[in-house]
């Protein structure tokens, strides 16, 4: 049994908590949130020990691992404290507000040999995993262009503020939404090296960006476009997609459907010349407990298994998430 604590029972925290609560190898030894109401509800109706002070939780519950799902501005200091105590850490995305904060944490986790993971769940989506496999095999030849997109209806009218609408706390479409797409590009193709130009638009928000458009180049020389908008109500929920052009074909994928075009008959097993369509239903491994998507359970299962030493701590390490933080900083800097 891995003893797990959770700090921050907001939207993502509650979801992680339910997944951990149902996990056969995890024991939730403590939940902490500053909202009295949330904690009282959990105290009254859930079996988990509850706290409003995370330091108290760490002292009393002595977790082996902690899931951190607090506003981004607290990530760096909290994660550092946990690592110094020898605790394995899963932290929500984005990793840190400033790229330099991440460097120390990567070193610390490494030197203490602690499992470290960031919540970029798209890497556990069957369609994107298949895209990675195809690209690794060089299936569509030399890549020369990509387009990464995400759209959804988060801020669709002028509204009151939360931490997500405060740029100092890690709010805004770039940090919250675009980070997923950037991280996916980093993972599928190559880390972002430079940003030629970018535009961060506020559509309904007063203080933060609601849309991000950017032209970027990757370390492997490939260039492409990022287009993300969380004020787009034509999408019922967040939809993330990538389109990748290569000399031998093209890949278009979202979290549900993978479409691959091959120019000629020399293509991987299970594919043929022309368009191929595969669905996430065929590409997703089943999970023991399902909430909102297999990927959320799969990423938490990966974290638990990495602590148990059953899988290597490779996917979504601090190191990979720091590259995404870096790209976020580059996009901010390149604003026109």
């Amino acid at each position: 049994m891995v003893k797990v604590g959770l700090i921050g029972a907001g939207k993502m925290g509650i979801s992680h908590l339910a997944i951990l609560g149902a996990h056969p190898d995890a024991e939730v030894v403590g939940v902490c949130d500053t909202s009295k109401m949330v904690i009282e509800a959990l105290e009254k109706y859930s079996p988990f020990p509850c706290f409003t002070d995370y330091k108290k939780m760490l002292q009393q519950s002595k977790p082996d691992a902690v899931v951190v799902a607090v506003p981004t501005k607290y990530h760096a200091s909290m994660v550092k404290e946990l690592l110094q105590m020898g605790i394995h850490v899963f932290v929500e995305k984005p990793f840190c507000l400033r790229p330099e904060e991440g460097v120390e944490l990567i070193q610390l986790a490494k030197s203490r040999n602690l499992v470290n993971q960031v919540g970029y769940h798209n890497k556990f989506v069957g369609t994107f995993e298949e895209v990675k496999r195809l690209l690794k095999a060089g299936a569509i030849g030399d890549i020369y262009h990509f387009m990464g997109q995400a759209y959804g209806p988060v801020v669709i009218k002028p509204k009151q503020d939360t931490w997500r609408s405060n740029p100092e706390e890690g709010g805004g479409c770039l940090m919250d939404y675009a980070s997923h797409v950037i991280d996916l590009i980093n993972y599928l193709l190559s880390p972002v090296q430079s940003v030629q130009s970018s535009s961060l638009k506020s559509i309904f928000s007063k203080q933060v960006d609601d849309a991000v458009y950017a032209m970027m180049s990757l370390q492997n020389g490939v260039s492409g476009i990022l287009s993300v908008n969380w004020s787009d109500e034509t999408h019922r929920k967040m939809t993330t997609s990538v389109s990748i052009n290569g000399t031998k074909g093209k890949i278009v994928s979202d979290a549900n459907e993978l479409k691959v075009y091959f120019k000629d008959a020399a293509c991987p097993a299970g594919y043929s010349r022309g368009w191929n369509v595969k669905y996430v239903t065929d590409l997703t491994a089943p999970v023991d407990y399902y909430l909102r998507g297999e990927e959320y359970s799969a990423q938490m299962d990966h974290f638990i298994k990495a602590i148990q030493g059953k899988v290597p701590n490779e996917v979504n390490s601090f190191e990979s998430a720091a590259k995404t933080d870096n790209a976020i900083a580059l996009i901010r800097k390149a604003q026109q």
Partner: protein
Amino acid sequence: MKMERILFGDNQFFAVNHISDEKSMAQSIRFKEDAAIIKTLDHAMEAGIQTFMCTTHDRIANICDVIRQQPEKYKDFKIYPCMPYAHKYANAVTELGIMGTIKQYVPGNFFGSLFKGGVAFLSKDFLSIMELLIDAEMKMFKGINTPVIFLQNVVTDLLLGLGMKDILVAFHDYVKKKYNAEAGFITMNMPALLNMLEEGGVKNPIICASINKVGFRMSGGKELYEETLRTRQFRAIAMQVLAGGAVSPKEAIEYVCGLPNIESILFGASSRTNINDTVSLIHKYDQVYTTTP
């Protein structure tokens, strides 16, 4: 009260498509006008389906108006509301936080009294918040026959993972008391949910779960689902029988009709042809399996 063998779903009306964002947009365009929804419901009724299982989406309120205006036409028609329309709340939580969302959606009077009583009062009264939210979602169905009221899977499964058995039981008890309706639970974790409901003393619950030949969204595995259907007492509704298109309709329906203890099959379709084809397949395989010893 026995549920009908075939229930008509609403995903197609609200651009819910589990396998294709493109199809989802096409559906959104096709069902832009309420009249298009009514017309499709007519096709379902012509095919003999009298139960519409739908999310408490804002647009369902308009459909309810149409139903109330024509009592003769809809005299045998039933709606099984499924609440809440989760994306409304999920997007609100991202934007407003959990407290902000409650402030926005819990009816005004309650918060007035809430602040008077302070936090201590609030902590005792989570179930009252739940009851007020249920009432808010049920408003649009006034005067319509709603014999079963469902909790959507995102909430059912969240409560399951959090171990909040008492809230699941409270939902069950409240819809019985206030609406004289049976509670239904939609889930992607059927065997685990049944265990929890039974622990909470809910006997023979109505559970709507993803049940299909390829094991899609059947957490715990297809074998465990089949065994649960064989050996346990509950009223199962099979949904996602086509597994998002991964199985051919014929194969999909044959599998589900061959399973024991499935009281109803839920499906949604946009065209008259697809509705009729699915209904005939269900009738055909029901006959095959009831006549085979």
